[in-house]
């Protein structure tokens, strides 16, 4: 039987329940597809363990929709006994000694982890090109980037290798690749999902989230991995999200920051976005333009806060505790310097240095403290909008996907995340989903909601998905 992995989860689940197929059939199909693939979506395959697990599942009852489904996991999320490289030379040979909480939760649902996906080095980049293991290609057009930093996770799902994947998002790293590959990606409320076992980049922003082909499958994966965790003090004790919580409302009040129409955003993207809003209005929902002036500071804010936190988090990679070590050195300083110089890529080194610079004693008040104040202003603005509206919508990215191999200015890697960063800064949940295509490349929209209100985002996204499809029964 061919292309099982292209079927909807519901259908696969039914076939597993009826015994028409076995989990091993799904794993073998993945194995065949991944060997034939030239996307460079995976850094490490986990096929032996996946086959072993699939055989064990044959003795178990199919008790949930994710049962036996192959899933790809971004290579900054640890899986016991399997390399975790973060796309970096400095961790090339690091093998994790424990499972991340999300990995444990996937295993509890009897999902099969088939591999670790390629990514921008330490999640720093927006095209997948900063990976030490080479760039990932966009399955929709291999001359283009799938976006980043969760490049491999997006390519795996869009390329039909796995129905689902986990990514991580610090300032758009799930949402941007989802938009570029025509997928659904969620950056949940800060604290919804345990980050225990996620290699830290910027701790006040980092999140793990689901990537999928459609909205409902995204919700199923999110439901499986969210909830409090004793391993991570940052997780919320809010009632965990369940797919049953999704209830449709007759009318949504949707705010559109006027900033979305700024000239920085590509005209095609704006046009698709406005068309999408027309459909939403025609379906009877309230759509109003609002002012969120502090959104325009998103990129400098991110450059200060994320890079400051990164410079601190990446200090641990000194060659003594993990991964790559230089062979020729004279003393401790020389050892660490040579290891870090050879182990990190250019983008990472640049970001570490900028982060260290803004945290230096003469700059900490000028840059870092100021950035925290601006973050507060932006957060309060967004919270004020949510006093009157159920959702905020924006385009997902500034343009469609970018051509691979092009020389880019240092700020270019941040620009695509212009509209994603504000919600990372405020900690609000936001979901990206496809709205249309231009020149056969997808364009996405972003839907943000109140804290812990992913259910409203999903409910509206389901409706929008049908509207985009042209389903008149909505």
């Amino acid at each position: 039987m061919k292309n099982l992995l292209d079927l909807e989860l519901k259908k696969i689940n039914q076939m597993l329940k009826e015994g028409v197929i076995m989990p091993i059939d799904l794993v073998e199909e993945f194995a065949k597809k991944v060997v034939a693939s030239d996307l460079n979506a995976f850094i490490t395959l986990n096929l032996d363990e996946a086959r072993k697990q699939a055989r064990l599942l044959e003795k178990k009852e199919v008790d949930n929709i994710l049962f036996g489904i192959p899933i790809a996991v971004k290579d900054n999320i640890v899986l016991q006994g399997v390399p975790t490289t973060c796309g970096s030379k400095i961790l090339e040979n690091y093998i994790s000694v424990f499972d991340a909480t999300v990995v444990k939760k996937l295993k509890e649902k009897n999902m099969i982890i088939v591999g670790k996906t390629n990514m921008d080095e330490f999640a720093m980049g927006g095209t997948g090109e900063t990976s030490y293991f080479g760039p990932t290609k966009n399955p929709l057009n291999k001359n283009f980037s799938p976006g980043g930093s969760s490049s491999g996770s997006a390519a795996a799902v869009a390329g039909g290798l796995t129905p689902l994947a986990l990514g991580s998002d610090t300032g758009g790293s799930i949402r941007e690749p989802a938009a570029f590959c025509g997928l659904v990606g969620l950056n949940p409320t800060y604290g919804r999902i345990s980050r225990y076992g996620l290699v830290a980049f910027a701790s006040s922003l980092d999140q793990i989230g689901p990537m999928s082909r459609n909205v409902i499958e995204n919700a199923h994966l999110f439901a499986a991995i969210n909830g409090p965790s004793d391993d991570d003090l940052n997780t919320s004790s809010e009632k965990p999200f369940s797919v049953d919580d999704i209830t449709k409302k007759e009318k949504y009040r949707i705010a559109i920051p006027r900033f979305c129409l700024t000239k920085i955003i590509n005209a095609d993207v704006v046009s698709v976005f406005l068309n999408c809003l027309d459909k939403i209005k025609a379906a009877g929902h309230q759509v109003d333009f609002v002012e969120v002036p502090f959104m325009k500071y998103a990129i400098p804010l991110y450059q200060v806060i994320a890079l400051a936190e990164a410079s601190s988090n990446l200090l641990r990679f000194d060659g003594i505790k993990y991964g790559y070590q230089t062979e020729n050195y004279q003393d401790y300083d020389d050892f660490v310097t040579k290891t870090r110089t050879a182990g990190f890529g250019t983008e990472v080194k640049r970001r570490i240095m900028v982060g260290t610079y803004v945290l230096s004693s003469e700059n900490v008040d000028v840059y870092y403290k100021k950035a925290l104040q601006v973050r507060r202003e932006l957060t309060d603005e967004i919270k004020a909008v949510f006093q009157q509206y159920d959702l905020i919508m924006t385009p997902a990215t500034v343009s469609t996907s970018l051509i691979l191999g092009k020389k880019r200015e240092p700020n270019e890697s941040f620009l695509q995340d212009l509209l994603a960063i504000p919600f990372s800064m405020s900690g609000h949940p936001s979901l990206v989903m496809p709205a249309d295509k231009i020149d056969n490349m997808p364009i996405g929209v972003q839907i943000a909601g109140r804290y812990y209100d992913e259910k409203t985002i999903y409910a509206f996204a389901l409706e929008l998905e049908a509207l985009v499809r042209g389903d008149e029964s909505v």
Binding site: Y297, T337, I352, M353, V354, Y357, P410, G427, Y451
Partner: protein
């Protein structure tokens, strides 16, 4: 604020990253990023910084293990993240 090349060399040493072979390249790229970062320097802000990242206070409120936090002036006590963390840890004991 313009960054001097010597400053970048100093920062690279603090980071234990050797950039001597590409100092000019890093200097140019660093300057481009700092030009972007400088946009927040003149922003008018009338609020203090977020005392903990995002919704941490709400989460502390809602966390059953530290309900005592409801009775204090959190903003006053949590002057800075670091200070707040120590308060939190002390109460945990």
């Amino acid at each position: 604020m313009a960054v001097k090349k010597e400053k970048i060399r100093h920062v690279s040493k603090l980071c234990k990253i050797d950039i001597e072979d590409n100092l000019d390249k890093y200097y140019q790229e660093f300057s481009i990023i700092m030009e972007s970062v400088d946009k927040i320097l003149n922003v008018d802000v009338d609020k203090d910084m977020l005392i903990t990242p995002n919704q941490s206070i709400n989460r502390f409120y809602k966390n059953e293990s530290c309900q005592n936090l409801k009775t204090i002036d959190v903003k006053k006590v949590f002057g800075k993240l670091e200070k707040g963390y120590h308060v939190f840890k002390r109460w945990q004991k």
